[in-house]
Subunit: 339 residues, 2 copies
C-alpha cells in the first residue's frame, strides 16, 4: 500500500532515515570496498585479514618491514583450476601432437604412443621421467624467443574442456583478490610452481600482476650462443631444476633468497614450501586451498592423481594452518560466475 | 675595493643580479642536487643521463614502461674493487685455512696445498675446477642458515690489504649514485655476478640497496630435508650454475625472465650479458668500467688475471657502447675519499 504523502509522520521519517543509514553501512554495501569481497566471512578469511593487520601495524609486536613481506603462491590448484589435467601438460601434449608428423617413430614408443593416443593416465603413471621426456621432446632446441612465442600463442587460444573458456579465465576470483590485497599491504607476491617457469611467465603478469622475475618454476638447462652474430638462449635436453615437492624450498632459496612469511598451496607438492615458510622466526602464515566444491569446481583430495592433498591436509589440521573450504569459504570461484 | 652604496649604478645592479642568477644555476651549486655528482661531465655521464631521459620521457619515441626498465650490474670490478683478488675467493681461502686442522691431508694435495701456502696464483692457474674444489670443501654440507651466518660474519670483519678497510667500503661511489639514479627513475636494479649468490646476498641490500631476490650469481645444488622435524636447506657438492661469461645471460633468463634494457660490466666475463642486453628491440644501453686509475684504484685490462678486459673492450669501441675511463670520468672512486 502506498503511503499518501501528507500522512507521513515524523516517526516514520525517522525510521526511514535510520533505515537508509543502516543500509549504507550494511555489509552488502560495504562489501564494495572489501578487498576480499568474494570470500565469505569465516575462519579462512579472518585468519588472512588478522595476519595482514598484525604484520602491517606500525609499532605492533608482529610488525614486519616491507622488504620482508614475501608471499609465495603455488599455481595449479591454488591460483587456477588444475583438473582434469595440469594445463601445462595439455600444452605439452598439443605440442607433441603437432610435432608427430616429423617423428613417425613416436607412434611405437612410450610415452609418445600414449600421449598421441590421448591416454593421459598411461603417461602420468610413467611418472616424472615420462613427462620429462615429453617436455624435452616438445621444447629442447627451441630458443627462448621461440618458446615464449609458442607458450603465448597456445595460452591465448586453448580452451578448457569443461567450461569451454580460455584457461586464463579459470584463475580463482578470491585468489586474485588476495594477491591484490597482499600487494596493497606492501607484500611482494611470488608464484612458486612445479610447472615450467617460462610457460608461467608467458601469462603471469597479465593474469595475476606477477612479473616474470617473481615467478619460480621448473626448467631445463640452457646455453647462450651467437647464431650468425645474433645472441640466442637455447633449451637443452637436461633438467635444470624440478621445482616441486622438496624442490620448492630450494627454488625459493635460489630465486628469492629469503624465507617467505606467508605461503599458499593446495597439495602435498606444496608441503615442503609451507613447512619451510612456517619454520622461520616471527609471524608466519600458511594456507591450504581444499577443493570441496564439485559443483562449481571439483571436489578431490587424498586419492586424486592430479593435486593430491593428503599429508599436507593432516599437517595443516595438526598445526592449525588456515584451510579454505572452497564450497564454504568462496562466494564465487571464477570471475565469470554471476554474482 | 668596496663599492660605496650611493655610487651603485643601475648597470652594476643588473650585473650583480645576472651574476647571482648565474651562480645559482652554475654546476658548482647544482651539483648538490646532481644525482651523479661524483661523475665528471663527459661522454660516459652524458650517455647515461641521455638514455635515462629518453626511456622515461612519457610519449617519447623511446619511452619504456616501468616494468620493462630492468638494469643489470656485474659486481666485482663494476660495483666494487676486485683487485688483487675477487673478494669471495679471499673468503673461501680464509675458510679453508680455518678448516685445515680438521683436514691434515690437505697440506699434501692440490689445490689445498697452494691455498694454505697463500699461493693464490697457483690456485688460479688451476682454473675453475680448482677453485670449485675449494668452494665445495668450504661450503658443502652447510645449511643455508650456517652459510649466511658465515658470510655475514666474514664480510663484517675482513679488511682489504691495500686500504685496510672493510671490503664493503670499497663499493664505488659513482656506481652507488648510478644505482640510486636508475631506481629513482623507475628502474629495477639487479646484480648479476660470477660470485656466489648467497655470499653476495649477505650484504647486497645493505651496501647497494639491492634485495636478495634481485641478486643473480653462481651456486651449488641444494637439498631440502627435515632434521629432527626442523626444515633445513643443505649445500651439495655439485654445481647448480656458473653465472659467469656465457652463463650470465642464462642466469638473467632464469632469474629475471625478461631481457634487461641496460647492462653494466667491466670485463670479458660480462661480454655475453652486454651482447644479450643490446640484442633486444627498442632503446638499449651498455657500459663498461675501464680501470685506468692506478693511483686511486688500479689500472688493468687486457692481460690481467683478475678482471681481464680485452674482447669486450674491442666490442664496446666497435659498437659505440659507453666506456667509463675511471681516471677521467670519476671525481671520486670510493666513498671514503676526501672531496
Amino acid at each position: 500500500m502506498r503511503m499518501p504523502r501528507r500522512q507521513t509522520r515524523p516517526t516514520f521519517r525517522a525510521f526511514l532515515l535510520v533505515f537508509v543509514l543502516c543500509t549504507l553501512a550494511s555489509p552488502a554495501v560495504a562489501s564494495q570496498d572489501d578487498p576480499l569481497r568474494s570470500w565469505n566471512e569465516g575462519p579462512a578469511k579472518h585468519a588472512v585479514v588478522d595476519f595482514v593487520q598484525r604484520v602491517t601495524a606500525p609499532g605492533g609486536k608482529d610488525f614486519v618491514p616491507e622488504p620482508e613481506r614475501i608471499a609465495v603462491f603455488d599455481h595449479d590448484g591454488t591460483l587456477w583450476a588444475e583438473q582434469p589435467l595440469y594445463v601445462q601438460d595439455v600444452c605439452i601434449l598439443d605440442r607433441i601432437k603437432a610435432l608427430a608428423p616429423e617423428h613417425p617413430e613416436w607412434k611405437d614408443i612410450e610415452p609418445f604412443k600414449s600421449a598421441l593416443a590421448g591416454d593421459i593416465k598411461a603417461v602420468l603413471t610413467g611418472g616424472g621421467p615420462a613427462l620429462l621426456e615429453l617436455v624435452v621432446a616438445a621444447t629442447a632446441g627451441l630458443t627462448s624467443a621461440e618458446l615464449e612465442a609458442m607458450a603465448k600463442n597456445w595460452i591465448s587460444r586453448a580452451r578448457h574442456p569443461r567450461f569451454d573458456r580460455l584457461y586464463t579465465d579459470l584463475a580463482y576470483q578470491p585468489m586474485l583478490e588476495l594477491l591484490g590485497y597482499l600487494r596493497a599491504n606492501g607484500f611482494k607476491t611470488f608464484i612458486v610452481s612445479g610447472g615450467g617457469i617460462h610457460f608461467l611467465r608467458s601469462f603471469a603478469e597479465r593474469v595475476y600482476g606477477v612479473p616474470p622475475e617473481q615467478v619460480v618454476g621448473s626448467s631445463l638447462k640452457k646455453k647462450f650462443e651467437l647464431r650468425d652474430g645474433h645472441p640466442v638462449i637455447v633449451e637443452l635436453p637436461e633438467v635444470q631444476m624440478v621445482n616441486d615437492g622438496l624442490g620448492k624450498p630450494v627454488g625459493i632459496h635460489l630465486h628469492i633468497g629469503r624465507r617467505p612469511i606467508a605461503a599458499f598451496g593446495n597439495s602435498d607438492g606444496d608441503l615442503a614450501m609451507l613447512q619451510w615458510t612456517m619454520a622461520g622466526d616471527g609471524p608466519r602464515f600458511a594456507l591450504l586451498v581444499h577443493h570441496t566444491d564439485g559443483e562449481r569446481e571439483w571436489a578431490y583430495d587424498r586419492t586424486s592423481m592430479v593435486g593430491r592433498l593428503d599429508k599436507a591436509l593432516d599437517e595443516a589440521v595438526a598445526k592449525g594452518w588456515a584451510i579454505v573450504d572452497m564450497k564454504r569459504d568462496w562466494k564465487v570461484v571464477f570471475p565469470f560466475e554471476k554474482r
